[in-house]
Amino acid sequence: MIPDGMAMLHTLIPELILTIGGIVVLLTSFRRARQEDDGAWKLALTTLLVALWWTWRRTTPTDEPVATLHADSLVFYARMVTLCIGGLIFLACRSVPEPQERSEFFSLLLFSLAGISLVTVANDLILLFLALELVSVPTYILIGLSRRDLRAQEATGKYFFLGAFAAAIMLYGFSFLYGEAGTTQLYPTPDSPTSIAAVLELPSRAADKLVVLGLLLSLVGLAFKLAAVPLHFYVADVYQGAASPVTGLLGFVPKFAGFLAIIRLLTMTGWSFADGLFWLLWAMAAATMLVGNTLALMQQNVKRMLAYSSVAHSGYMLVALLAGPAAAGAGATGPLSDGISALLFYIAVYGVMNLGAFAALTYFRKPGDGEEDSAETLDDLAGAGRRHPWASLALAICVLSLMGMPPTGGFFGKLYVFSAALSCSADSPRHLAMIVLVVFGVLNAAIAAAYYLRIVAACYLRPASEVSAVRYTSSCGALRTCLLICAIFVMLVFLRPSVLLSPSRAAVAEMTPAHASPANTITIGQTKE
């Protein structure tokens, strides 16, 4: 069969828009940038909006077989969320880079976002790996570009070295998966039934140590992206080092990509975890929640605190992941029993509220070494509530949402995640384990409240002091818009959860517990052996 290149490209149009746009933005840097000129930002944002518009039209012809690409509703969801939150990131980052580096910065951002979409689209290990690298490589540079100071460089170094280290681990896992299956194709298509998923379906092979090894190495490697235990160590240092808006980005972009990849990988196993894998994920989820929260409890630096809290949130999402898709457990077909959908819901809300919190930190300025810097420690925030009621309110809303309090979207996130966990595998002995995990999770949420509350308390309960950052604020209008949108969105998700719930449910509607149905995964021109 002849690969229909045009159809394949058609499927990839949003990603293509992003990458081509990114290249164009990069090329503009050859023009000499003036201080006030932010054409690169505008161009990049326009690119993003075009991609968004295209995705929204949903023109991908799913009936035509294309290439080793997914075109299911998860792709649509991933693109929409990526692009929407990407837009917010653009708003937050507008004044981050130096004028002469704007093109590089924003084009890298576009590449990174394109990478996330590609992760879902990929139906091939090679493509998946490339997509993941496309997500992470730009982020290494973004951290370095975001600030000039020592910490940013240290963060860049740590993130890059450890990221490469983790990527090698993940890739090693991929190689075993390929080796056992003999193909890099993830899911079978009508034209090429051989796929890793098909291999994993066979009970004899699924138990093979090398398959397990491959899966495990892949998962652990991806855990770096999620900032999940045991690969969470870098998180605080990197988050602290990056400029606040970029930190906001780091909380979302790699995590989303990582979770999408894990969803794709685990779907191959059919969600009927072997005991070992179940308990591994169980322990990972529990440990991630606990480690993140307890470490965050020890922090005085808000960015580090939020970094560890990001670990903890990965833990909650792992709980949802463990719950699996709706039909994973017998009898668990309730609407809030869908773990994957809960995960997708949660991560979107998390991306927004996390970004909002960092945007608020960016909004409060303090004199740094040489140039002014965003607020970073609790002391910096003292008295903010009084000086800047609206920004503090937005920060408080985002933080309360992270805490999971009503009336914020975070509440529904927790609701969805925990109810999914409670209702999965109802009649199996694992149900009790899930209940224990949920109880552990809510207790962790209580621990989390203790440190989130410190942020709120610093804003509202403490008087402004000499060291507070609240005397200055950012003059960036885009940042303020971002903050406003984040706060409003977080509230909106509470008032009308269906704005996010319906898409997230639709995203997994086609996901069946067995293997992805051929209708949704279209492959042609698979290289025959």
Partner: protein, 609 residues
């Protein structure tokens, strides 16, 4: 009022009551240019308007359409909040409000106390007016919401949300240790209620497994009536109920607070601003008791009965412990705070007696404690505003300086220690009566879990309550005049004795205390059917006789009501028992002899519809 019930207003009255303060709070927060004076007036006006609507709701409630059983939810309003389309199990989280005889009294209590608390803070709050009054209104709306919610998730949302405004109220306008107190309050209560959250989710999921209706439709919903049916239909094993009970217990017992989970309360009370203490004591603690009554008892009947002795022991321990600890306090506010621990023990004791009198007493106790303890906190706040101290060592003989204040303080103290004729007595007596008689008379074929062994030590609360309250009254009001060195502070326009505004704040509470003490019957008549049918009927393993009672013909009912007089001659022949009143016989009559019992299955369906 019947006319109103059919209008738009009648359909949405509860929503208006709940959201009027919330929307007003948002408006207030954005009015940065307003002067304190107009902010105060606005806040007070809104809260009074809310009270007006709440009273209107009461009027519509009592005159609701004929033909509705007295225990039904009324003023119901529902709309979908989160609806998911699903092939098999539609998701339905609703905005579903309504009141019955349990929620309504507490709704009115909240609606009454918040304006008074707001009015009472006019002189105490001198800083950040806008935020303060906005938060008060926000809290107001949330508390009202809790008592109206008919959807468990909605309940939980309001329940949890109340933490946020109060956290700020304590943390910003509190005393010297305000941040510690606010943190402790927030985290302590949140830790408990997070477990409750898990329980809520579990129940919702359980409900989604249950086909309802003839077509076997399954709905994922947190609607209370559905959840009640879980246990009624035997879908919750005793073991499951146990765990769920513990999950609910974690949230509610901390909120109540039940001994030994009470230690956040004295600190929060001491540090909170006056209005915060008032609201905390008067309403927020009731969220816990209301939660027990509304959720734990009817949803988890078997576990509730099984665990009632433990709760009873804790409640009794709290009564005695709280009273003794109150006695040794030097800070008036702390004393009143510990008295709350003691009082709320009574409240739970009565509730878990599962005797109609105990339950009635318990709900009355919630209202009465709100009135009298709220008022006590207000009075203490008034003293504090004048002398900037609450230490009893620094105060004395104030009856001479502030006779009007003394009058109110004594009145509310007496109400708090259960002096007959004031409200505290009615509820205390009913609670003790219910506990005492818990083992008998509850319903035929059903014995309450508590009994004399609980009532006797609890009754010592009568004595202990008097000890610490009179100790406080004696120290503060009596003896030679003693004021702190700086005398009284008139900088905020206060006079030595209470100002007319302050008298205006306390007078409605005083009237309430006396009215509910002398003639609580209207309140009891509102509560009783709801308690009987919404709580007791669900506790009983078999069909309850009390369900049938509402089918008594009017004539018969009248006869029952009129038989108060006992035409008995003490010298008549002693063996002749005929003269013993009809109601007594009625009382002892076995179920199957009572007239006109409905077919049990239809009754059940109607109740749980």
């Amino acid at each position: 009022m019947l006319y109103l019930a059919d209008t738009w207003l009648g359909d949405h009255i509860l929503s208006i009551v709940i959201f009027l303060p919330i929307i007003a709070a948002a408006m207030l927060f954005s009015r940065t240019a307003w002067q304190p004076e107009s902010i105060r007036r606005f806040a007070l006006g809104i809260s009074l308007l809310t009270l007006l609507f709440a009273v209107l709701a009461l009027l519509i409630y009592v005159s609701d359409r004929p033909g509705i059983a007295p225990a039904e939810w009324r003023l119901v309003e529902r709309s979908d909040w989160l609806v998911g389309e699903d092939d098999q199990v539609p998701l339905r989280i609703q905005y579903y409000v309504g009141v019955d005889g349990i929620g309504l009294p507490l709704l009115l209590l909240t609606a009454l106390l918040t304006p008074l608390a707001i009015w009472g803070s006019f002189s105490g709050i001198q800083d950040r007016h806008r935020e303060y009054y906005a938060l008060m209104l926000l809290l107001h709306g949330a508390m009202l919401g809790v008592f109206c919610a008919r959807d468990l998730l909605l309940f939980y949302v309001f329940f949890e949300f109340t933490l946020i405004p109060l956290y700020f109220l304590i943390g910003i306008w509190g005393g010297s240790q305000r941040q510690k107190a606010a943190d402790m309050f927030f985290i302590y209560t949140l830790s408990g209620s997070m477990l409750t959250f898990a329980g809520v989710l579990f129940l919702g999921w359980k409900a989604s497994l249950l086909p309802i209706g003839p077509d076997g439709l399954r709905v994922f919903t947190f609607e209370l009536d559905r959840l009640y049916q879980l246990a009624a239909d035997g879908h919750l094993s005793l073991n499951t109920q146990w765990w769920l009970f513990i999950a609910f217990f974690a949230g509610f017992a901390i909120k109540v607070p039940l001994f030994p989970l009470h230690t956040w309360l004295p600190l929060a009370h001491t540090e909170a601003p006056t209005a915060g203490s008032v609201i905390l004591a008067a309403v927020l603690l009731k969220l816990g008791t209301y939660g027990f009554l509304r959720l734990s008892l009817p949803m988890l009947p078997e576990a509730s009965i099984a665990l009632a002795p433990i709760i009873g022991v804790l409640a009794v321990a709290g009564i005695i412990y709280g009273a003794l600890a109150a006695w040794v306090q030097r800070d008036i506010k702390k004393l009143v705070a510990y008295s709350s621990v003691s009082h709320l023990g009574f409240c739970l004791l009565g509730m878990f007696s599962l005797h109609l009198a105990g339950l009635t007493g318990s709900v009355l106790y919630m209202v009465n404690h709100g009135l009298s303890t709220g008022a006590l906190f207000l009075v203490v706040g008034m003293i504090y505003e004048r002398y900037h101290t609450r230490e009893m060592d620094h105060l004395g003989g104030l009856a001479r300086q502030m006779p009007i204040m003394a009058f109110f303080l004594i009145l509310f103290a007496l109400s708090s220690i259960g002096l007959p004729g004031l409200n505290g007595f009615v509820s205390e007596f009913l609670v003790l009566l219910g506990t005492f008689n818990s083992e008998k008379f509850v319903l035929p074929g059903f014995k309450g879990p508590l009994g004399i062994a609980f009532a006797v030590p609890a009754a010592s609360g009568i004595l202990l309550g008097a000890i610490y309250m009179l100790y406080m009254v004696g120290r503060v009001l009596f003896g030679p005049v003693k004021e702190p060195g700086h005398g009284f502070d008139s900088s905020t326009g206060l006079t030595r004795d209470l100002t007319p505004r302050e008298i205006g704040v306390l007078t409605p509470l005083a009237i309430g205390c006396i009215l509910l003490g002398v003639y609580p019957k209207p309140a009891i008549e509102i509560m009783e059917p709801a308690l009987d049918r919404a709580v007791l009927a669900r506790m009983v393993p078999q069909e309850s006789a009390s369900l049938a009672r509402y089918d008594l013909s009017d004539k018969h009912k009248q006869a029952v009501e009129l038989d108060g007089a006992y035409p008995v001659d003490s010298h008549a022949d002693a063996s002749n028992l005929d003269a013993i009143s009809q109601s007594d016989r009625q009382h002892r009559m076995p179920v199957h002899l009572q007239p006109e019992i409905r077919n049990p299955s239809t009754t059940r369906r109607e109740v749980l519809r």
